[in-house]
């Protein structure tokens, strides 16, 4: 299946080809490498739901033509 990943920081998109057994964290890894993201943490959302990193594409309910968003997860506060 093919999904579209949106970069929450720039609005840019990239299409990603996935198998049912790919994991959410593989999507995070692939997308953050594509956009040369820095060392920070990231999460992926589908609609109003944040997807669990350990889940597979099939388990997390990702379907063909879905749009997902890669969001930086802020670590600072001091």
């Amino acid at each position: 299946m093919n999904v579209r990943i949106r970069n929450a920081e720039t609005g840019g998109t990239v299409d990603m080809e996935l198998e049912g057994e790919n994991t959410v964290q593989e999507i995070i890894q692939g997308a953050s490498a594509f956009w040369n993201k820095d060392d920070g943490a990231y999460v992926i959302r589908k609609g109003k739901r944040l997807l669990r990193g350990q889940q597979s594409v099939a388990q997390s309910g990702i379907a063909d033509s879905d749009e997902l968003e890669l969001i930086p997860d802020p670590e600072g506060g001091a």
Binding site: A41, R49, L50, R52, I71, D73, P74, E75, G76, G77
Partner: protein, 261 residues
């Protein structure tokens, strides 16, 4: 009902304008005990908002001293505090008490790991105002263990987030972790063979985002305290001040998360 009033009486009550918010339980707010871990950018703002909201019993924890680079975002710190390398907790305690004379601030100069889990039972709400994932996960686990609501804030430049954890029902910080968080943890603690070296990443920070994220943390706490948990963020609010976006997203409880026994 009859009574005696005099002109201007409504302006003598410090909390008159707060009492006009129908759902806000001001008396309960005043009896609440809060723990704020970290009194840097978020912690300064959280303490300020708690004191002005009427919380009278606040414990603050931080191991650091004031430095000049804190002064772009910390309302309680002054140039002289940095010159004298004063402990952040001491400065925050002193200045916060100037805002409301009846507030009691107990300051602990130390790390989050220095607080015994059993000591957390006495708090009604715990605030995470930390600058790293390791400390957040530690506090999240402790709060979950004693089933005290935990409200975590995080920022990076003009971005921020707030997660509300109401143990044991809601997903916790650990539930939301993935390999990208794990990699940060691994980089933070590197082993030289003889010792563990802690690498601290310098993260962008400024006052508008710190102020907004801290305000959301306190806003959510006021709902919890007033018995309005159903109106709280489910479960994470992400804020982007540059793109002017703010959205709440739901998380799933991780069945393997050790914090939901």
């Amino acid at each position: 009902m009859t009574g005696t009033i005099r002109p201007g009486f409504i302006d003598e009550d410090r909390y008159d304008r707060s009492r006009r918010i129908a759902w806000l339980d001001v008396e309960r707010v005043r009896r609440t005990k809060c723990l704020v871990v970290g009194v840097g950018a978020l912690g300064n703002e959280v303490v300020k908002d708690l004191v002005l909201s009427g919380i009278q019993d606040i414990t603050i924890v931080d191991m650091d001293q004031v430095v000049r680079s804190n002064l772009n975002r910390c309302v309680f710190f002054r140039e002289g505090d940095a010159e004298r390398s004063l402990a952040k907790v001491d400065v925050v305690a002193q200045r916060a008490m100037e805002l409301a004379p009846d507030v009691r601030i107990n300051s602990i100069e130390g790390k989050v790991e220095d607080i015994a889990t059993e000591e957390l039972v006495r708090f009604d709400v715990i605030f995470g105002c930390l600058d790293n994932i390791a400390a957040r996960l530690h506090l999240n686990a402790q709060a979950g263990h004693v089933k005290v609501p935990y409200i975590d804030g995080g920022t990076d430049g003009f971005r921020g987030k707030v997660q509300v954890v109401l143990p044991p029902a809601t997903p916790c910080l650990q539930c939301a972790m993935n390999q990208s968080h794990q990699r940060i943890l691994e980089r933070r603690f590197s082993c030289t063979g003889a010792e563990v070296v802690v690498h601290e990443r310098k993260i962008a920070a400024e006052i508008t985002t710190s102020s907004i994220i801290a305000a959301i943390q306190v806003r959510e706490a006021l709902k919890v305290i007033s018995g309005r948990s159903e109106a709280c963020i489910r479960h994470v609010e992400y804020y982007d001040g540059y793109q002017v976006r703010s959205e709440c997203y739901e998380l799933e409880l991780d069945p393997d998360c050790p914090n939901h026994g």
